[in-house]
């Protein structure tokens, strides 16, 4: 049975939260991790895409950019003035 989108999103969120500050994750990293975990049959690329979209649209995560785009927890920018 396919993994629910919400469950994927939660799991992705956990990954992002855990690696925050240590390693920047890309959408592709999250997708590959989920597929590795559940297998392509249970969790398609498209499912992951929807999960990421949910994660972002809900505001739980945001995209960041440092030479490449990553998915991260919302936070105030280092460069932004106080």
């Amino acid at each position: 049975m396919a993994v629910a989108i919400e469950a994927l999103a939660d799991e992705m969120y956990k990954m992002v939260a855990e690696t925050q500050g240590k390693k920047n994750l890309k959408a592709l990293d999250l997708t590959k991790a989920m597929i590795a975990k559940y297998g392509e049959a249970e969790c398609s690329k498209d499912d992951c895409k929807h999960a990421i979209r949910q994660l972002i649209d809900s505001g739980r995560c945001v995209y960041s950019y440092f030479g490449g785009s990553f998915i991260t927890l919302p936070h105030k920018e280092g460069a932004a003035p106080e």
Binding site: K26, A27, L28, T31, K49, I52, R53, I56, D57, G59, V62, Y63, S64, Y65, F66, G67, G68, S69, T72, P74, H75, E77, A79, A80, P81
Partner: protein, 399 residues
């Protein structure tokens, strides 16, 4: 500046109001009339001019909700001195194909930007977007809201498909071998998700040129360069050729001698083109537009891989599909793109453009990966080194 709002005079920048070419400093000053932000921009820029260095800092996280691209975060490193540009983000607004506008559309954009930002723009950015130059984090979402309500959307930034662009094509050019504007618009629309939500290893650009003159420089700066061309013979009007000759054009010297394959002959009366050897460079057509025209069997070549030099040196796109008839172009392109993106997603490293990936894994492996057969049109010439990785198992006698 002269308006005495307490800021130092921009003496160096004032020098750039002189001279006949339109002045960007005048533009900033014009905008300053209604936008205080522009005073601080002038101020900080004057400091840069004095110190010979940028005073901007990276910004990585700002954007509009749900999108991962379309906004470039930017902060001043002199925020105390120039508080109005402490934030100075840009919005990249997706331009309409071919950069066509009505006066009303332009005014709508102006109004939105005057309300929410500096009132300064680039028409356009190098990728082709309408660039709204400088606003605060708070204004991003409201600007976006007004833009979408007016029918505009953001363009790309980050690891996404970037805003595709195209030459004026069939709208005003007799040489366009396919409908560049339709193709550009269709691809932009089809891949909205890929444009707004970064899911790629790095950026991916499309550019559409209607003929080999390549008026959007697709071959130099697009990961996928779609360049119009034709398959049959150049259309030739002998009477018009004669007119050019009569009017003083030196056909031997300026046309035949400059043909890269020397496949044209001019005997003083009749121009003969050995079309089999013509490489469709456009030169003769460019010189004699009334006499020569691209053939009737029109379409495009699809080339892959161009990019700027960072990191391993610049690349030009190279031929992937030598010819697709105009009618089949969009289907072929979409089918192809999905396979390319899959392969890239699977094997591409962070910040690795498709052209770099192809170089790393080898073109033949890339072709295998996307399911295309090798054809000689893909190479300038076959390999000259003997370092061939033969496939297959022991005892394989074939090639």
């Amino acid at each position: 500046m002269a308006d005495g709002n307490g800021k130092p005079k921009a003496q160096m920048l004032d020098e750039l109001e002189k001279g006949p070419w339109p002045s960007f400093v005048k533009e900033i000053k014009k905008a300053a009339e209604t936008s205080p932000v522009c005073h601080d921009l002038m101020g900080q820029l004057e400091v840069s001019y004095e110190e010979k260095r940028s005073h901007w800092k990276h910004g990585g996280i700002v954007g509009v909700l749900g999108y991962g691209g379309g906004v470039i975060g930017r902060y001043s490193d002199l925020p105390d001195q120039f508080p109005n540009v402490a934030h100075f983000h840009t919005l990249r607004v997706n331009h309409p194909s071919g950069w066509f506008y009505t006066s009303d559309a332009l005014r709508t954009l102006c109004d939105i930007w005057e309300r929410h930002g500096s009132g300064l723009t680039n028409m356009h950015g190098s990728t082709g977007d309408i660039v709204f130059l400088g606003t605060k984090t708070d204004e991003l979402e409201p600007t976006f809201k007004e833009l979408t309500e007016a029918g505009f959307d953001l363009g790309g930034s980050g690891s996404v498909m970037r805003t595709p662009s195209c030459c004026v094509g069939q709208a005003r050019c007799e040489w366009a071998c396919y409908d560049t504007m339709a193709a550009c618009d269709d691809i932009t629309r089809t891949y909205q998700d890929e444009l707004h939500r970064p899911a790629f290893p790095y950026k991916f650009k499309f550019k559409f040129s209607g003929c080999p003159n390549d008026c959007v420089a697709a071959i130099a700066r697009a990961d996928l360069s779609i360049i119009g061309t034709w398959r049959d013979d150049i259309q030739q009007d002998d009477a018009a050729v004669a007119e050019y000759a009569a009017s003083g054009l030196n056909i031997q010297k300026d046309v035949c001698n400059r043909c890269p394959t020397h496949c044209m002959e001019w005997d003083g009366k009749k121009l003969t083109i050995e079309n089999k050897e013509c490489v469709r460079c456009m030169h003769c057509i460019n010189v004699m537009p009334k006499a020569l025209r691209p053939g009737k069997e029109k379409g495009a070549a699809i080339l892959i891989g161009a990019k700027a030099p960072i990191l391993q040196g610049a690349l030009l796109s190279s031929v992937l599909i030598p010819f697709v008839p105009a009618e089949e172009l969009l289907d072929t392109l979409k089918e192809l793109v999905s396979r390319i993106w899959d392969f890239w997603g699977e094997y591409g490293k962070n910040r690795e453009r498709i052209g770099e990936l192809i170089q790393r894994v080898g073109m033949a492996n890339f072709l295998d990966g996307i399911g295309l057969d090798p054809v000689p049109e893909m190479v300038g010439s076959p390999r000259d080194n003997p370092y061939i990785y033969f496939q297959g198992k022991d005892g394989d006698q074939g090639t």
